[in-house]
Amino acid sequence: MITFMNNSDSEEEPCNERTSLMSAESPPVPSYQDGLQASEAGEAQAHRKRRTGSSRSPNNIADGDMSESGVPVRESTLENEEEELTLKYGAKHVIMLFVPVTLCMIVVVATIKSVRFYTEKNGQLIYTPFTEDTPSVGQRLLNSVLNTIIMISVIVVMTVFLVLLYKYRCYKFIHGWLILSSLMLLFLFTYIYLGEVLKTYNVAMDYPTLFLVIWNFGAVGMICIHWKGPLQLQQAYLIMISALMALVFIKYLPEWSAWVILGAISIYDLMAVLCPKGPLRMLVETAQERNEPIFPALIYSSAMMWTVGMAKPDTTARGPSQQTWDAAEDGRENHRSPSHADSRMSETRSPVPTRPISSFEELEEEERGVKLGLGDFIFYSVLVGKAAATASGDWNTTLACFVAILIGLCLTLLLLAVFKKALPALPISITFGLVFYFSTDNLVRPFMDTLASHQLYI
């Protein structure tokens, strides 16, 4: 699922958010998000927030453009048109996804390059108990593999736990969990981050100011993510949360473990989303059966949805419009991110009567846009951040990984358009990223260095 939700820190509770996000989304999209969420215990909370964020970006952009497509005009060939539209506007959606992913990566890389704190080794998370300071290569490899196994099993347990909670309708618990994790993310991590940045630039700040700033930031963030707020602000918050989470991961995961974990997560994602018994899939199916929004707090239903709803109090009109758009949206949503499907939207969308589409529906249609799970954001940023932090070829490697991830995202979206069902967003991008990282670091770097020293150009 393209929408990985955040794999929050292991420090936090398992990422139930991920799984929860999945279900929240339209059923077609499950898989990514759940897998991701489960793994990260702590992050789950963070993720939840994130997930909702990812969906927002596409919606905003889609809003304006979609209405012009004139899709609503043709009722009879709605399905066909929707398909065409999906593919045709695929480019727009892809860009809508590119921008937040790029922003997140830029934030992470900028922080890694400037703030020393995130590249120092100050211990490891309890989820990766085996150290990598061993003298022999074999031992190190073994330790990293063990770390990965532990991490992945934590994620799986979290996901399954989330699915069970959802199945047995323990909504309050999940809500509480999400709120708690987002609280922690917004306040604690921001505090640490701000402290480190200020230390790096030698800027003094007194505690009252700091308290005020963080309090405002956190409070607005909570409101934006869990309740209502302008779409762009929500997206910005989701990006920041993803970046913070990715930074924590980069700092606390030992090197080899990080790479192995990245690889393992993409495999897990692939399995969780595509296997019929996968937890993410079950989550989505359950959500679809019940036709209910999963977690309002988690769902990154674009704020558009809200504003549209508020602008047009005629809920009955919305219902059918939502349904009509269901077909279109499903196509679109599947592509994007299973993570943040608007639960509301998905719910209303379940029945798909072919009705005339009013302009209002068009508006809603646009909102759906593309959704990407926050976990995906996090892992992409972890990959690029690790490349920036540890590669000796510095910017070349980072740039190569960045391009590789974007191309992977493109390909995944293309596949989404072709297959029209939820697909994991991680595997292709992470594979490309890993391949490019290792090859650029080891092969391209000596070549380019030699060329540069002689000032040759190819």
Binding site: E84, L87, K88, A91, K92, V94, I95, F98, G393, D394, W395, N396, L399, A400, V403, A404, L406, I407, C410, F436, S439, T440, N442, L443, V444, P446, F447, M448, T450, L451, A452, H454, Q455, L456, Y457, I458
Partner: protein, 231 residues
């Protein structure tokens, strides 16, 4: 300037951005393969033999140029297929983006990536302390690198247009000229501490390529005059 090109002409249309990134990706892959070859050659040879290393480097550069052009061709093929798909999907039967635009964007993609790879470590080092050319190397290192990179980016853009045009109209000689020009420019950089030898001809070649691409894209001296006089 390349960034300006990007902002003004490409950033508006999402399809172009995708084509740009894909172009950069193709260049990257070609670079990867060529450095793989070079790496293997270096490892298999004697590292202490200076002339041999230089020779291998030259061989690596030439090979890389050839690979880049080969990947440009592959990218052209891919874009052709994509255009057919887009035409099929569009509502009014014509593609939202023409092959010339794609050629331009692909060229910019290649150019940006190659420029970025050439320049970015340099820029990062330039931020730090140090003196240019302290060991007897040229003091104009940064400046000439910047100019060379710029000319290379522009050249890639023009080569993209020429190359695609040659492929479209099946004029193989056009393609050959592009390849030869690329080899020539890279070869010119070999005489590099002698900057006159490499920069000036490169700029001349760029001017030639620019004029040619302009003519191919339908421009003419008349258009140019009208544009400059703001008619």
């Amino acid at each position: 300037p390349a960034l300006g090109l990007f902002l003004f002409t490409i950033a508006r249309d999402p399809l172009r951005i995708i084509i740009l990134i894909a172009g950069a990706f193709f260049w990257l892959v070609s670079l990867l393969l060529s450095s793989l070859i070079w790496f293997i050659a270096v490892k298999a040879s004697d590292p202490r033999d200076e002339p041999l290393q230089k020779g291998l480097l030259i061989f690596g550069v030439m090979f890389s140029v050839l690979l880049q052009e080969a990947f440009r061709f592959l990218y052209y093929k891919l874009l052709r297929k994509a255009i057919e798909g887009l035409v099929a999907l569009s509502e009014d039967g014509c593609s939202p983006i023409s092959i010339q635009q794609m050629a331009y964007v692909a060229g910019v993609g290649f150019g940006l990536m190659s420029g970025a790879f050439s320049m970015i470590n340099l820029l990062a080092d330039a931020l730090g302390p140090g003196t240019v050319g302290i060991h007897g190397d040229s003091q104009l290192y940064f400046l000439t690198s910047a100019f060379m990179t710029m000319v290379l980016i522009f050249l890639h853009t023009f080569w993209g247009i020429l190359f695609f045009h040659g492929c479209e109209h099946r004029r193989w000689w056009e393609i050959m000229v592009v390849v030869v020009m690329h080899l020539a420019v890279s070869g010119l950089t070999f005489c590099n501490p002698l900057y006159v030898g490499s920069l000036v001809p490169s700029y001349v070649l760029m001017a030639i390529a620019a004029a040619w691409a302009y003519l191919l894209s339908g421009g003419s001296a008349q258009n140019l005059r009208r544009f400059l006089l703001c008619k």
